[in-house]
């Protein structure tokens, strides 16, 4: 018997990779990014230049804001005008969010005023920084190429752009969620003091931005447990990771104590009434899930467009078949778990409270979904030309979605209060009275027309001497309570006064009576 000597000790691994498709380097081993199939990664300086270009383009898209301030933003701006003591009082007894974004907005307003662009600056900055953060996460998990493709998708994502343009906390959740995951992976690879500190800071920022940040933080704790189990099995050093994990857990618990007290006061005070009015939701349906997923990828669109997008669900059958034989990479499993778990938890929660299943509440998952898609493109498509073509095609659909989202008046999330108030101001005189519905609309009027006399619709129909002309501005008419009250008051006014004008703006109705 003659034993033939091996020609190349590692070749079978290469062949195995070819057979199984893209096999990524072991996440928990030393940094060993792809080249799968021997293809070199994008060079560092080229990647840096490309990232700069993508980030600049993302910033430009985020700065092009066609819409005015909507109700929730107006509430935040109102809070930003309070003293710091009153801000916390207001948050404790009239809100349901942790205070990080409110503090950032408070500082912004103090520093550069409360113009439409100014109040959105914190979100624009966070949303823009999320682009390089997405690149870093992609590079850490896979390679520079995947990071760049993901960053490009993130830069053009209609949903991420929408919330980067809103003076609310969602862009913070997106940014800090990405940073929390990225710093965690760095701490796994190299549990240095600096990496642990960065992880703890990013997680804290996520936690203090939105309570739903806890969904991702929970997944991260599971990842730590998985890493520890894996290391125990493989006999790798555990001490540094275990100590770091316990320390980070202790810091997390220390934050949770005051935060839970804070949250308890908030939920106790606001009771059943939410901080902002919402529509009347049907029970959670598959359509709701599919349409929210379509929104997550291609942005907000009118119902007719959303129905067309949702009709494409058979393509998910194809995707699930494409995944056959592709499993096995720890990176992708971690990424998929981090992206899908918050969505699944919210679906389960929404079975009890439908209002909680909304894209903005799982916005942290959206960039992760784009990173998964980027991985599909760079990992599965071998031909560079085809890879460019598919990346370009996906970007094209995102930009198309963005265009429709930003310009279509049928966008269900577009509330044109600015346009409505502008027309009211044009017709209003010193004796004018504005009745508004819902009650929180007063913050919008505070912002756009502080000089106008106003009162909520729920205080009833004004007597003739109380003012003329009387304007009624009503929104959130898919909420039955608001719709009924508006109908009743407008009906009475119609009976007692003369209707001289009536117009509609997206999600807003205005009546003018004399």
């Amino acid at each position: 018997v003659q034993t033939l000597k091996p020609l190349d000790a590692n070749s079978w691994r290469t062949l195995w990779r070819r057979l199984r498709g893209a096999r990524e380097a072991d996440l928990f081993g030393p940094r060993g990014r792809l080249p799968t199939r021997g293809e070199p990664d994008t060079k560092a300086n080229v990647a840096l230049l490309a990232l700069a270009g993508i980030t600049a383009a993302g910033l430009a898209l985020r700065l092009a804001i066609p819409r005015g301030i909507w109700l929730d933003e107006a509430i935040s701006i109102h809070q930003a005008h309070l003293s710091i003591h009153d801000l916390f009082e207001n948050l404790q007894y009239g809100d349901r969010h942790p205070p990080l974004h409110h503090l950032a907005l408070w500082l912004t307003v103090k520093a550069i005023g409360d113009g439409e662009l100014a109040v959105r600056i914190p979100s624009i900055i966070a949303g823009t920084l999320a682009i390089p953060a997405l690149y870093l996460l992609g590079r850490e998990l896979y390679d520079r190429r995947t990071g760049l493709v993901a960053a490009a998708f993130g830069a053009a994502s209609p949903m991420l752009i929408w919330y980067s343009q809103e003076a609310r906390m969602y862009a913070f959740v997106e940014l800090f969620g990405l940073l929390a995951l990225w710093t965690q992976l760095r701490a796994i690879r190299n549990p240095s003091m600096g990496n642990w500190a960065a992880y703890i800071l990013a997680t804290a920022a996520l936690l203090w931005s939105h309570y739903f940040g806890l969904l991702l933080i929970g997944v991260q704790q599971l990842i730590w447990v998985g890493v520890l189990i894996h290391r125990r099995r493989t006999g790798e050093p555990m001490r540094a990771i275990t100590l770091g994990f316990l320390y980070s857990l202790a810091v997390l618990a220390m934050q949770l104590v005051p935060l839970l007290v804070f949250a308890h006061k908030q939920f106790d005070s606001t009771g059943a009434a939410l901080g902002s009015p919402s529509g009347t939701y049907d029970a959670l349906s598959f359509y709701a899930v599919i349409s929210n997923m379509a929104w997550a990828l291609w942005g907000y669109h009118p119902d007719t467009t959303t129905q067309l997008l949702a009709a494409g669900w058979p393509l998910f059958l194809l995707l699930s078949l494409l995944l056959l034989g592709r499993g096995g990479s720890r990176q992708t499993i971690i990424l998929a778990v981090a992206a899908i778990t918050p969505i699944v938890i919210l679906i389960v929660v929404a079975l009890y409270d439908r209002e909680l299943f909304e894209v903005r509440y799982f916005l942290v998952a959206v960039p992760l979904l784009f990173l998964l898609i980027a991985r599909l493109v760079t990992g599965w498509i071998r031909n560079p030309g085809a890879r460019w073509a598919v990346t370009g095609a996906i970007l094209f659909t995102l930009l198309l979605g963005l265009l429709d989202q930003q310009t279509n008046d049928g966008n269900p999330r577009l509330y044109d209060f600015r346009g409505a108030v502008k027309e009211i101001r044009a017709d209003a005189g010193p004796k004018s009275l504005v009745l508004f519905e819902p009650p929180d609309m007063r913050y919008v009027l505070d912002y756009y027309a502080p000089e106008l006399r106003r009162r909520p619709l729920r205080e009833g129909v004004p007597r003739r001497r109380e003012g003329s002309p009387v304007f009624v501005i009503a929104s959130f008419q898919d909420n039955k309570k608001f719709f009924d009250r508006t109908n009743r008051v407008v009906g009475k006014l119609d009976f007692r006064r003369r209707l001289i004008d009536k117009f509609e703006k997206p999600q807003t109705k205005v009546w003018e009576f004399r």
Partner: protein, 509 residues
């Protein structure tokens, strides 16, 4: 030594047949526990008469869904009974005749097969080249290695006739059979012969491994299909004592062979029918899951189509025999499940026809429901069925394998028709070397269907752009993607095999 400068069959294995973590048995049992209620949930909803849309389409849908569910349940049942046998060396030195049946295969392919067979350890080995191609080069090859050479005057009964003829000229109590391209591991007999100490064991089957899986797309996808069968399915069949012989890499007991009169010569899948005979006669079969031989999978679409046609014709013609067999119910069910797999092409045809009919005529199998309602019932069942296949295959079953099978749906349809019409089939040896040119004609039926799906989709979109049309166009796009993936190896320019950097296995030469 092989005349080739290198040979893919000498490389180290690229497949771990048995998962190292959770066993397939446990995986599938857990998934079946989840999947069974979901199957009841889906079919309970689907079989409600309120769902009937266009009656004949509904009937077709139910037929396809019931068939697929039966196959899925059969798969779960099989895999949930997985048995992993260790190699079992013999306690005494026994004589084994090793048959290498050949029929006009390239000598350089057979060279290594004979060399490896001659080096088998653990028994008194007598290798025989059974040459049905009257090839003098084969005779020279046998002489070079000092092994036996048998040539027939009358070439009847194809491979089965060739082996039956050799049985009359040899006399060892055990017979190992290797196809002309299968390079045996030196330990083949050390791992299998021990099981023959049970006097009721008729044969010990081992996996049919394709060493050229990374050489081209066809071999890769075809291996992926094989890996699922010779992995979870074969081990499950072993757990149910229902392993059937696959014709190569198998060790027979001569007495069992002779008790049923040797291989049946009137079948295209002689091994399948032989197994039924042996099980009817009360013999037992064993499956050793270790890869103990490395062969070559089909390297071009023509070879794959030819192999699949032979298997489909053989198994479908054996289906009535399996149904009539005097076997215990679980054994009979296993034979029927395996043979009826070759009817699954019909379900592919049915599913592909739905969007075409909907876009052309408006007819659809289910009516009065919304897409969310359908998804609510179908998606969980589908997800669990797919996940179970993925988990049982431990990642070896790929989309390319699925697409290759789907793109060759027509083979199942044509084979069924030929079988029903009792049209004669002929045994065609699977070519061992790939064609050097594209082979669009081998996938023409699938390409025609792609053309129909694309044309009808364009027609539908021009006529109407509502959500229902988009939905059906998306279904058509799914089918087109699958078919084109399956057809692509025949349409792409064949790749030159990569011969660099190969770690070799220990082979007796």
């Amino acid at each position: 030594m092989s005349s080739r400068p290198w040979d893919v069959r000498l490389r180290k294995l690229m497949w771990e047949p048995v998962p190292k973590t959770v066993s397939v048995r446990t995986r599938v049992r857990i998934m079946a526990l989840i999947g069974l209620p979901l199957a009841v949930w889906y079919f309970g909803w689907l079989l409600n008469p309120d769902r009937i849309g266009t009656p004949y389409l509904y009937g077709l849908l139910i037929a396809a869904e019931v068939f697929n569910m039966t196959q899925a349940l059969g798969f779960w049942w099989t895999c949930a009974n997985e048995r992993v046998r260790p190699p079992k060396p013999p306690s005494e030195r026994l004589a084994v005749d090793v048959f290498v049946p050949v029929y006009k295969e390239p000598v350089d392919i057979v060279d290594l097969t004979v060399a490896a067979a001659a080096g088998l350890r653990g028994a008194e080995v007598r290798v025989w080249v059974l040459d049905d191609g009257n090839d003098d080069a084969m005779r020279d090859l046998a002489a070079r290695y000092g092994v036996g050479y048998i040539r027939r005057d009358e070439h009847t009964g194809a491979k089965a006739g060739n082996i039956n003829h050799a049985l009359t000229l040899t006399n060892a109590p055990f017979i190992a059979v290797f196809d002309s391209d299968h390079v045996a591991d030196p330990s083949f007999l050390e791992a299998t012969l021990g099981y023959m100490e049970d006097p009721y064991v008729a044969f010990v089957q081992t996996p049919q491994y394709y060493a050229n899986a990374d050489q081209n797309r066809i071999a890769a996808a075809s291996w992926s299909q094989q890996a699922l069968f010779f992995g979870a399915i074969a081990r499950g069949k072993d757990g149910l004592d229902a392993v059937f012989c696959c014709g190569t890499n198998v060790l027979f007991r001569r007495e069992a062979f002779e008790s049923v009169g040797g291989f049946p010569t009137n079948s295209l899948t002689e091994d399948y029918e032989l197994s039924i005979w042996l099980h009817e006669a009360g013999w037992k079969s064993i499956y050793v899951p270790d890869v103990l031989s490395r062969g070559l999978g089909p390297e071009d679409m023509g070879a794959y189509v030819s192999q699949q046609q032979r298997w489909a014709r053989g198994c479908l013609s054996g289906l009535p025999r399996a149904l009539r067999s005097r076997l215990p119910l679980k054994l009979k069910a296993q034979y029927v499940l395996s043979a009826s797999y070759f009817l699954s092409g019909w379900t592919v045809l049915i599913y592909m026809s739905f969007p075409v009919i909907r876009l052309l005529t408006g007819g659809q199998p289910i009516a009065g429901i919304t897409a969310p309602e359908f998804l609510l019932h179908f998606a969980p069942y589908f997800a669990v069925a797919l996940t179970t296949a993925a988990l049982a295959g431990a990642g070896s079953y790929t989309f390319a394998a699925f697409a290759l099978a789907a793109a060759n749906f027509w083979i199942h349809c044509l084979s069924t028709i030929y079988t029903v019409l009792r049209k004669e089939g002929s045994f065609v040896v699977t070519p061992k070397k790939g064609a050097a040119a594209r082979q669009p004609s081998a996938v023409m039926p699938a390409l025609v269907v792609v053309g129909i799906l694309v044309s009808v989709s364009i027609y539908g979109l021009v006529k109407n752009q509502d959500a229902a049309t988009i939905n059906n166009v998306c279904f058509a796009a799914v089918h087109v993607s699958i078919l084109m993936t399956g057809c692509w190896p025949a349409l792409a320019k064949p790749r030159v095999p990569d011969s660099e950097g190969t770690e070799l296995a220990e082979v007796a030469v």
